[in-house]
């Protein structure tokens, strides 16, 4: 017996996002940041969750269409080299004289990012086991929020400082471009042991990035797919 929903999935949720800047950092060039030339599915998932999020379901991004020509920009900024730790916060709570001297912790970093980007994200809703309501409810809620322009937090393009605006689907055509993007982050799996990563071979065809349902992972406990546990 065949499952009709497998062969005839409901039409995807579609939202278009646009931003003046974007940086979808390549994992190998994350210090002197260099962006992928196309939005990654994990960034697209972040955009969707900024618009509408419920613990009862997750998004599976199925396709990303590039709507504007790929343009690059370079930015060099002053940042700091250490990150906030729980131990530091505890120390600061006890000793009120503790301060972070950003000038003493300075790290100048370059970013090769994208300019004037616009994408059309296609995604499916995947209900979690504890969900009781039908999928259609969440799909409709998402569509209503997109039409209203409502979001829980401002969506962003890869890094939080690059805010994005979103809108319902328009008639824009994807750009005419083919490109092999290499191994791209598919998703991050969070487990009690830590996080691990899934990858896929990304390829832009006629301005469209098709995303497989599952990323690559290695079986077995002695191996890892990226993150050190």
């Amino acid at each position: 017996m065949t499952n009709r929903r497998v062969h005839h999935p409901p039409p995807p949720l579609v939202v278009e996002v646009e931003a003046p800047y974007a940086c979808f950092t390549r994992p190998e060039f994350k210090t002197e940041r260099m962006s992928y030339s196309v939005m990654t599915p994990s960034a697209a998932k972040g955009v969707l969750e900024a618009i509408f999020w419920k613990p009862e379901f997750g998004y599976q991004v199925t396709r990303i269409e590039v709507l504007k020509p790929i343009r690059w920009a370079s930015i060099r900024r002053n940042e700091v080299s250490s990150m906030l730790t729980l131990a530091w916060v505890r120390e600061a709570m006890v000793d009120t004289t503790v301060r972070l001297d950003a000038e003493a912790d300075r790290d100048q970093r370059n970013m090769v990012c994208l300019r004037d980007v616009a994408y059309r994200i296609h995604a499916q809703v995947r209900l979690r086991p504890h969900a009781t309501d039908p999928e259609a409810k969440y799909r409709d809620q998402f569509r209503r929020r997109v039409e209203r322009g409502a979001c829980y937090s401002q969506p962003f393009m890869g890094v939080r400082e690059f805010s994005a605006s979103f809108r319902p689907k328009t008639g824009c055509e994807p750009i005419d471009r083919d490109e092999k993007l290499g191994v791209m982050l598919h998703s991050i799996v969070y487990s009690p042991d830590g996080e691990s990563y899934r990858w896929f071979h990304a390829e832009l065809q006629q301005g469209v990035l098709e995303i497989p349902r599952e990323g690559i992972e290695l079986p077995g406990a002695d191996t890892r797919t990226g993150g050190r546990r």
Partner: protein
Amino acid sequence: MLIRQLAAHAGDRRDLPPPYYRNRNVRWAIDLDGDGRPRGGRLVDLSTVEAKSGVLLDTPYVQRSGTGSLPFLLTDTLQYVLAMPKDDSDKQMADARRRAEDFAELVYRWAKDEPLAEPVVRFLRRGTFSEVEIPVQAKPSDVVAIRTDQGWVHALPSSVQVWGQIVRERKSAAGGLGICLSCGEGGPLLATIPEPVKPGGIPVAGGRGRDAQLVSINKTAQGRGGITQLANTPICDTCGGQAMSVLNALLADRQHHYRGSDSVLVWWLRRPAPFSLLGAVRDAQSQDVRGIIEQVHLPPARRADWLHDNDFYAVTLSANQSRVVIRDWIDVPLIELCQHLNTWFADHEMADLWEDGPQRVPLWRMAAALGRHGKQGYVRDTAPRSAERDLMAAALHGTPLPTNLLARLIQRVRADNRVDLPRAALLRLLLVRADPAMKEILLEHLNLDTRDPAYLCGRVFAVLEDIQRTALDNINTTIGDKFFGAAMARPLPVLTMLRKNATGHLRRLRGSRKAAGIALDKRLDEIFQKFAAELPATLDLAGQGRFVLGYHQQRSADREAARAAAAARKTAAPESA
């Protein structure tokens, strides 16, 4: 993608050193006899008058970070090999001894299965290395290699194999097996990239660079979740080692890199091609350019084999302290690159004052033309630092140039009062790439049909200057010297005034050089008749650019016509004689 393509190129290069070896200057040698005694009891100086730093050899090398003792196998600094301290303090002497012991341990490990290692082991076990005479000019950081009757011991196959194992042990992630981000295959993963980019490989503004890492995650804010090293950036040892080896080889190969003031462009092909692609852009050598243009115009079936299924890769690198910054990455089919280069030449070809026909201009001359023009040509380092990089990127990508370059060029033309071939070519390139409709107006030679007011104003100015030059024999300052800048921005008042003044010059020509006077007057009238409306009162930046091109191309056409007339007279003279 970059790391993957670099590693894939390793198979095509014959000049790569063995894995985790680097081509370095070796200043000193220890010559051991069969019994492991240094010949002459002293170090052999390998430096010559030509090579003061010693001879270049492929020697074991990986990046050493921190202050720990991490010796290289068989070839290292005097501090490691002969325990030469940095100073006379007890601390440094003890440190040097410790390093020498670690160095010897590494050699013993290699010597277990290598019969040719016997002299080296005897030399180290005997402990007489401290009696080797060290010349006064030697420094603890000088590299010293060991030579026996069989040659350099670090070049033996067993040395390469053992050193590879040692590096993998040092640099591999603990128990790390996983999918490599670069090649997508499973394998042992690295904790850090073993080899950095060599110092001097990447130009650094205002100084000499140092070792720079292509993939560097050594601060908590740089890695995901505060984890440093390559924990969340899985790269296998094959990709990491080969990619850096190839990158260093390309940076050392003059045919494969192009150095700017603060960046370097490195390029390579998936399969070799018979001529220099980048040389065509950089130097505009006619044989290279012709080869590319011919291939682009051929039907696909008749194109050369090296164009089929071939790809072009280029990366532009800068350095931020000890980290490499990737500024640009190009990965295009070779035919697409050839098409971009063809467009590059088609967009900037320009008539010249001194040569007949359209000329192609080397990229470096166009970049230099953005600088100040002094008495002996363009003054070095006065062009914007990013100019060469921007021009090269536009050539390879086939994209428009940054608009700030147009403002800069117009400002320099006005300030220097100078338009020449590189400036005119760059101006045409800037205008045509910014607005493709300009291709109809701005041709490589004088456009006699266009009615663009800015272009016509430039032509008028060139004719007015010609009238003045022809009328006055001994002229100190031409109207070009005095009014060119003003006429570029405000053609209506300036050209009206100059047209009135030209009446006097034309009257003078009627007396002295009547035919020339009539010809010039007629040319001026022809241009004025093309104006559909009144002359523009002011011109914007692009308009000023078209004015300059009209001026340059009118002058070039006049000079070419004069040269042709002189040549015709020259050929006619002997016939009539």
